[in-house]
């Protein structure tokens, strides 16, 4: 009898512990671990790479390819959250993530990341080809080991080099369809690679305390805000010819070029505006221009890839300009 009462009390206590949210996650917490917002960018760019390729897959193979590329991206996200849990606890932007919030343990995140990474690479290889699967495996390795474990806490160029990881999905999509590499996916890679630094530096300008408190050597922390603003402008200028060059390849056309001209002109103007502003003005208006530039950078990337998609549709209807 006493044993039964004790057992009941223990059950009740463990139930209350669970109710506090300690290591008893719902399905949504595991989804959050895969960084669904980053995954949406991966899905979209990989889809464009796959559809713009000159060879086509069966629709189910295409669906599987995009799904496993997205899951590979999700695996990278889970492994990133596992390794960065210590700094995620410090930064306001990341405090509510499942590990710092105590809903998922680091071990669970690492296990999910490794398992999903293996399954996604293997399944992409079986569904399409092993060249694409190898590139997906390299992308996961690059994001987790080269960026997260090495560059992120070591150099202010972390975002510049680490941006490569986010730039691979359209190349993987193209390779899944063709099994080879060509100029258009290389330029798609370059577009995302050169877009990443100004995008994240704009974020670092208005999330100013987060990175310095966590000891992440962002350019804003190591070289100051003036240098960061100069770098943002420089990247918008370097980015423009790459974006326009993509329009002259087999995936481009007049629609893409028109969109690219407008978006790049606006992006350079935004970079110029940030370069002209000083910190006092930015603090006074709570970084309005920096926030606007950050939001526009998302539209910039989406616009370019949507234009490639539009060109693909037009090419399919026999309206190829070149």
């Amino acid at each position: 009898m006493i044993a039964t009462v004790k057992a009941t009390m223990t059950d009740a206590r463990s139930l209350d512990d669970g109710a506090m949210g300690e290591h008893d996650a719902g399905f949504g917490d595991f989804v959050q671990l895969l960084k669904p917002r980053v995954m949406s960018l991966v899905v979209f760019t990989a889809l464009v790479g796959l559809l713009a390729a000159p060879m086509s897959l069966h629709p189910l193979e295409s669906f599987a390819a995009i799904l496993f590329i997205a899951l590979g991206g999700g695996a990278s996200g889970a492994l990133n959250m596992w390794y960065d849990a210590d700094i995620d606890r410090i930064m306001r932007r990341t405090q509510s993530r499942p590990i710092p919030a105590g809903r998922i343990t680091g071990g669970e995140a690492a296990g999910l990341g490794l398992g999903l990474g293996l399954i996604s690479c293997l399944m992409l290889g079986l569904a399409t080809n092993f060249a694409a699967a190898g590139l997906l495996a390299f992308t996961i390795f690059f994001y987790v080991v080269i960026y997260t474990m090495w560059l992120k806490r070591w150099t202010p160029q972390n975002i510049v080099i680490g941006g490569a990881a986010g730039a691979f999905p359209p190349v993987i999509g193209w390779m899944a369809a063709t099994g080879t590499i060509a100029w258009p996916p290389v330029l798609m890679f370059a577009l995302i690679f050169l877009w990443t630094p100004p995008h994240f530096w704009a974020l670092a300008l208005f999330m100013k305390d987060d990175y310095s408190r966590a000891g992440v050597p962002m350019l804003t922390v190591t070289h100051g805000r003036r240098v960061t603003r100069r770098h943002i402008l420089a990247y918008t200028l370097i980015l423009a010819p790459v974006a326009l060059a993509l329009g002259l390849t087999s995936v481009g056309g007049p629609v893409y070029l028109a969109v690219a001209v407008v978006l790049n002109a606006l992006f350079i103007l935004g970079g110029l505006r940030l370069w002209r502003r000083d910190e006092e003005v930015a603090v006074a208006d709570n970084y309005v221009a920096e926030r606007r530039f950050f939001r526009f950078s998302l539209l910039y990337l989406f616009g370019h890839f949507a234009a490639i998609l539009a060109e693909t549709v037009l090419h399919g209807m026999g309206w190829a300009a070149w």
Partner: protein, 59 residues
């Protein structure tokens, strides 16, 4: 004696969401593998060769 009906504890709701989610993911995965197998096999048979067979060697 009939046990009183109690609403689920939040802990159980979270566990149920996790279990149902995992079940749905596994089911979707099995359907996808089946579909992919059908696509691959029918492509091979459309090429004129039964799956797993090489072209006959002429005498």
């Amino acid at each position: 004696m009939v046990a009183p009906i109690r609403p689920d504890h939040e802990l159980h709701q979270r566990r149920r969401s996790r279990n149902m989610g995992l079940g749905a993911v596994l089911l979707a995965f099995a359907i996808l593998i089946f579909g992919l197998t059908v696509v691959k096999v029918s492509r091979q048979t459309a090429d004129g060769q039964p799956p797993g067979m090489t072209a006959p060697v002429s005498p």
